[in-house]
């Protein structure tokens, strides 16, 4: 049976996390001056996350559209609204592809 080297795995994930942070912060900085470059940084960050099998950190997860995987920033190319109908939720509309992402506001089990 193949045993996975847990220590090496944790190291890879640690490096990956740092790389994702630098790339997405860079993407946010360059978004105004060079949108295509910023989009490329976001794509690399996502690929690094996939290679290391980690989720994007929460503060960055919402910056990438779930449908078209583009970098979206509130006020620039996405619309964020709080909706009260049905369950209270936040709706993020990506202005690139026009699709919506919903995030429930109620915590699970409350």
């Amino acid at each position: 049976m193949k045993t996975r080297n847990r220590k090496a795995d944790a190291k890879t994930k640690n490096i990956a996390m740092r790389r994702i942070h630098t790339l997405l912060n860079l993407a946010k900085e360059t978004k105004n001056t060079d949108p295509t470059q910023a989009q490329r940084y976001a794509a690399i960050a996502r690929k690094v996350a996939m290679a290391a099998k980690i989720r994007l950190p929460k503060e960055h997860r919402l910056l990438i559209c779930k449908h078209c995987k583009n970098l979206i920033l509130p006020g620039q190319n996405c619309r964020v609204r709080i909706r009260q109908r049905r369950e209270p939720h936040v709706t993020i509309t990506c202005l690139n592809c026009g699709k919506q992402t919903r995030i429930p506001l109620k915590k699970k089990g409350s």
Binding site: K11, I15, R19, L26, Q37, K47, V48
Partner: protein, 93 residues
């Protein structure tokens, strides 16, 4: 920053790079911020001008955000940014 063979797995986009030695004489002395990376090249922003540098042909001096300067042979950095994450090299020094 502690330098270990793991530096080949770090992120180079956003660092300051300078070319120390190269088999291509026009590359020597090019310095600037790394703005892009592909499997075989780095793109440096040298005085508002984008320069595409073949990784395998040069020895780089990278300056990381915390100020450490590391000299790396570009041949070790060949590979797409996401594939470099799992690259391991034998200790060379």
């Amino acid at each position: 920053m502690k330098v270990s063979p793991d530096v080949v797995r770090y992120e180079f986009i956003g660092t300051e790079a300078k070319i120390a030695r190269s088999s291509q004489s026009s590359y020597v002395g090019v310095c600037g911020k790394v703005v892009d990376e592909t499997k075989n090249t780095f793109t440096l922003l040298d005085k508002e001008k984008r320069r595409v540098i073949i990784k395998d042909s040069a020895v780089f001096h990278f300056k990381f955000p915390d100020g450490t300067i590391v000299e790396i042979d570009g041949g070790l950095l060949v590979g797409r940014p996401e594939d470099r994450l799992k690259k391991t090299i034998r200790r060379l020094w």
